[in-house]
């Protein structure tokens, strides 16, 4: 009675065919990238050395290292984090703990989606208009970092909101029943239970921020500077812009130098991302509820 019929066989064949087809499509998305990464490692690997990382570009940027760009990227990311993490976490706390389900909350969510969706070059225009010109910061680390902060704010908000919402409602109710105020509950119970999720979001933001180029091009990153930045009102070099400059603006840059910069940049970004993903998997493994 349950013997396979011809129809069953046909169905199973169709299913196998489609499984193979979609598996192939997945592979074809991933393979080019693996090839590309391999090429970057093979061609950029020989350029990597302590000297490459810790010396300044020389000879009209056709020789030397990337130290000022590396330091500049650290500055830009650090200042951007200082601005965006407090605002992002506050915003996420409001959305996860306070916001009623009404039109205003919908509007906030729509604004967040749009902040993430607006082209990076429009963020750059905003940075020029608001921070460089209107606020009078000039082309500086401050202006560039604030532009980056605005652009990557959704990353922090979304990650934090998710990890706050993952804390069971019963935790809060237990705390309220003890007479704690809303904020005491958030501060003593909700935040400690979601801090690692928030950290994952912050690491993700570091990765996003350090790779961005368009928003910093006109707000504070310079093509070449012979000195390191001394404060937030200085201009700076940046790794991402340095790659753009080497590959489009400077003639006769040796190939290994370009590939070296690309490799360092992508290595930094992917390492951060892998760290964030690994952290998330680890947390999922040891969740207490």
């Amino acid at each position: 009675m349950f013997a396979a019929t011809a129809l069953d066989h046909r169905n199973r064949r169709t299913q196998r065919a489609f499984k193979a087809l979609f598996g192939l499509m997945t592979l074809m998305l991933i393979t080019p990238v693996i090839i590309i990464l391999t090429v970057l490692v093979v061609k950029g690997g020989p350029a990597l050395s302590m000297e490459f990382l810790f010396s300044a570009p020389s000879n009209g940027m056709t020789a030397g290292g990337i130290f000022p760009a590396l330091v500049g990227t650290v500055w830009l990311v650090a200042v951007a984090l200082l601005a965006s993490v407090p605002v992002g976490v506050a915003s996420a706390i409001y959305l996860a703990e306070y916001a009623p389900d009404n039109w205003f909350t919908r509007l906030i969510n729509l604004a967040i989606i749009n902040l993430a969706g607006v082209p990076s070059i429009v963020h750059a225009l905003f940075g020029v208009g608001a921070f460089v010109l209107f606020a009078g910061f000039g082309e500086s680390i401050l202006a560039a970092s604030l532009t980056l902060a605005v652009m990557t704010l959704p990353v922090v908000i979304v990650a934090t909101r998710e990890s706050l919402q993952a804390v069971p409602k019963a935790f809060r109710e237990a705390c309220w029943n003890m007479g704690a105020t809303r904020w005491q509950t958030i501060w003593k119970v909700v935040l400690p239970n979601s801090i690692s999720g928030i950290l994952t979001g912050v690491i993700l933001e570091v990765s996003r921020t350090s790779g961005e180029t368009a928003p910093i091009m006109f707000t504070g990153a310079a093509l070449f500077l012979p000195f390191l930045p001394q404060g937030v009102l200085d201009q700076t070099m940046a790794l991402s812009l340095h790659l753009f400059v080497l590959s489009t603006q400077v003639p006769n840059v040796p190939e290994h130098l370009e590939y070296g910069v690309a490799l360092v940049l992508i290595g930094m970004v992917l390492a951060m991302n892998a760290l964030s993903i690994g952290f998330r998997v680890y947390l999922r493994g040891r969740k207490k509820w």
């Binding site: 997945t26 506050a90 409001y94 989606i113 607006v118 905003f126 208009g129 961005e212 006109f218």
Partner: protein
């Protein structure tokens, strides 16, 4: 009576009460910041662009003239060729990435299991993290010679190069969102269909895909938005010359790339500077419309 005492005690506005009130205002301000910022972006970009829109801009010429010559005398500000550049590159990117992303999403969401599935998800996520300037560099130094050799053309920078690069960039985002949409379909739907004797593929085709239709549409829309707004990768891989393209090997220039290439040279407050901000307004409005549509599409499903 102890009961009454306690009620009074709860009503007393002590330090904790004030802290609680202050914090609730503080996080409200944080919550509203996204709205303030998006309005701020529109206001500041419009403020600079308005001088051009109300001044030398000729609407018909702006949208129908293929000549973008802001530094000639007299200058012409026509973005037809730039729009054609953006459209052709984004179009090709979608042609490549929509089928592959949806296919990958179905495979990851419905067929793959356990370790394979987790690994694929992580790989897709890492793919999405590659910075656009690195993609641009790949277009310039890996794809360019490859296209020259394979197709025997003089220049490998153009629609084909940019389209492939943008396709690869947009694919992980579309895959992730599409897979989320598939995951949002309740398992009870699948079980009900399987109980009726449907094969896995029949379940996907007749039950899961129709149920996830809106989410999948949103995924495609957000992918289009990503391609449309991409700047550095397009700037570096498209060849950046003003053209009304006739073949996939033609070099084109995108709206976003034009701003990135020229903003540094345009003196602040000049017509050229303001014209670039006007393009910025256009980019903002189009991406806003795309995101709004995606939001409405997803919500339309929720109401049913």
């Amino acid at each position: 009576m102890t009961n009454i005492d306690r009620t009074v005690d709860l009503d007393r506005r002590g330090r904790d009460w004030y802290i609680d009130k202050a914090v609730s205002w503080l996080v409200f301000v944080g919550g509203a910041s996204a709205i303030v910022l998006i309005l701020g972006i529109f206001a500041f970009v419009t403020k600079e662009g308005l001088g051009f829109i109300l001044g030398p801009m000729n609407f018909v010429e702006f949208f129908t003239n293929p000549a973008w010559r802001p530094t000639s005398r007299p200058p012409t500000y026509g973005i037809l060729a730039l729009m054609a550049g953006t459209a052709s590159v984004t179009g090709l990117a979608m042609l490549i990435s929509v089928p592959f992303s949806l296919g990958a999403a179905i495979y990851i969401g419905e067929f793959a299991t356990g370790k394979v599935r987790e690994t694929l998800k992580v790989l897709v996520e890492l793919l999405a993290a590659i910075p656009s300037v690195v993609w641009g560099f790949i277009g310039l130094s890996i794809m360019n010679p490859l296209i020259i050799r394979v197709f025997n053309v003089p220049l490998g920078l153009g629609i084909l190069n940019s389209g492939i690069i943008l396709g690869l960039m947009a694919a992980p985002i579309m895959t992730t969102i599409a897979e989320d949409a598939l995951k949002a379909v309740p398992d009870s739907y699948r079980e009900a269909a399987e109980a009726m004797g449907a094969s896995r593929w029949q379940v996907i085709l007749k039950v899961v895909l129709p149920a996830a239709k809106h989410g999948l549409m949103a995924a495609v829309l957000l992918g289009v938005g990503r391609g449309f707004g991409e700047t550095m990768a397009v700037l570096m891989s498209s060849g950046h010359s003003i053209n009304l393209p006739t073949s996939p090997f033609d070099s084109v220039r995108a709206l976003t790339a034009t701003i990135a290439a020229e903003l540094g040279e345009a003196p602040g407050g000049s017509d050229h500077f303001r014209a670039l901000f006007t393009i910025g307004i256009l980019l903002f409005l189009v991406t806003f419309a795309i995101n709004l549509t995606a939001d409405i599409v997803v919500r339309g499903k929720g109401k049913r």
